[in-house]
């Protein structure tokens, strides 16, 4: 991989840790803070999306902005910025931070109600909070090398009947709780089941398993990930059949291969789940093929939008 270090620029030293846009103003990311009275914090009434920048290119920028807009609509949030304005803001954040490889978050936050009004959501305006920081991965380099170790926890994923997982949200209480279960067993991360015992997703990533050469991904209870969509496209390119359907825990655990995917990490092979060691305790061959293809295609400019670094 190439060197993606920030190029220090004395004129924008304040943005070394990242750049933020909060409720209409640009600022260093360390200054971006959410008022404690806002519903976005105290009711987690917020939706978000994350797009990555690699080699100076956004990946599937329009797909992320479209999903972000759909999420805002689902929550009846109407910030003042248009999709085009969001595109300009995100570009400027990456340019301000001087990042060639970035994790870029766009968030819409429900504010506090005006004085004298009840906290019903329609009494509150919504505003954008966005930032760009150095690219970060869910899987450490060590995990990428040896394969991630997953476990299936007792904690169940919050069901779609309560909170819609396709509207990307910060309701991570179940995911966080599951990580404490993982800690007990020494696993890196978890993959949660739904109330019917089917696999859903992990903390910040979609999951897949491969059985008899077929790539399987859960049908419901998970985010409809943009990287997941990219995996399906890569399957088509490589001639690998794939299927979206319910996957019971046992079927997942006994698969030939398992991998996860996310904007913050790409495709991440798994080498262990619960007490089972997959294959040779290394990333599986098809998972590695998909991962390598993913980065090859990104290097070729697949779904890329060039960052304009002149607009600081």
């Amino acid at each position: 991989m190439e060197d993606h270090a920030v190029v220090p620029d004395p004129n924008r030293a304040d943005y070394a840790a990242g750049a933020a846009y909060l409720d209409g103003a640009f600022m260093p990311v360390g200054q971006a803070r959410i008022p404690v009275l806002d519903s976005g914090y105290r009711r987690s009434d917020v939706t978000y999306d994350v797009v990555s920048v690699w080699d100076g290119n956004f990946f599937r920028l329009d797909d992320h902005i479209t999903r972000f807009r759909n999420s805002m609509n689902a929550l009846q949030m109407t910030p003042s910025e248009s999709d085009d304005e969001i595109r300009v803001i995100l570009n400027r954040l990456v340019a301000l931070a001087g990042l060639k490889a970035a994790y870029v978050s766009m968030e819409c936050v429900r504010a506090a109600p005006p004085p004298g009004m009840t906290r019903h959501p329609w009494n509150c305006r919504s505003y954008l909070s966005c930032y760009a920081i150095a690219w970060t991965s869910v899987a450490t380099p060590e995990m990428m090398e040896r394969g991630m170790h997953l476990m299936i926890p007792k904690t169940l994923r919050i069901p779609p009947e309560s909170v819609d997982p396709t509207v990307k949200n910060f309701h991570w209480g179940d995911l966080t709780r599951s990580l404490f279960e993982a800690r007990e067993t020494g696993a890196d991360y978890t993959v949660l089941l739904d109330v019917d015992g089917n696999v859903t997703e992990g903390p910040g990533f979609n999951v897949f398993c491969i059985r008899d050469g077929v790539v399987l991904s859960p049908r419901r209870g998970a985010l409809e990930g943009v990287t997941r969509l990219s995996v399906f496209e890569l399957c088509d390119e490589l001639g690998l059949p794939y299927e979206v359907r319910d996957i019971p825990a046992d079927e997942f655990r006994d698969a030939d291969e398992i991998f996860a995917c996310t904007t913050a990490g790409g495709i991440m092979p798994v080498s262990r789940i619960d007490n089972r060691i997959l294959g040779n305790d290394r990333p599986g061959p098809l998972s590695v093929r998909l991962k390598d293809r993913f980065w090859q295609r990104r290097g070729e400019g697949w779904h890329a939008t060039k960052v304009d670094y002149s607009v600081v």
Copy 2:
């Protein structure tokens, strides 16, 4: 009711809107903000509790601090402040804000991980965020007068198997979603069911129904409210039998009376649920008796801890 207006003091004009304590420092509430990179915001990895002040007295202060400490322990959060220090902080916040009647929140927030560490919760420290603002009620004066109008929404309460409702939390996505359903029908608030069709709680309040003179409250899926505990104590004082058990939606809807309770509002009678009008479309007699008794007892110094206004 008495006049609980803030007494303006030119020396602490900044605290007119309320006082906050954030990560070790006191400040006006408008300045208290949570960094966008902290897990307390971006994973809603936070627990909280709320205590009220009425007539210059905290109500059940120790009960709230004890529950808050239990919640922090459940999430493996260890801020630097002891329970005694929290008691002093909350008192000082009320004194700084000069409030005789206050809504006082104590929150413990998981921070961002140190640079280079993964976002696993045990890599992050936790800190306190507390504030005191003017007393506020879930029910408006109009709702208190006519009785609240509730509805049972399609949205289900997040189950205990996903997020423990006895650890007070900001996972309000289901509650917020349900309020939009209430808006469609003209109801004020909602009461959510669990997956088995039993009543749980509403957005920020516990619920009760009264059938044949017996006060009933849901057994699981809800916060074990401190005001709910006070209701049980008042039932004992008034010789009203009560029972904690599963309450199916139909049984709840067909009750003789319904009421809700919360720190931010006390006991709040309900006069309508879905399409059903209870009694005379006014607060029910036993609900009113409990409500009046509640405020009478508080006026008598029941479970009270005097605020020391000299420590500003």
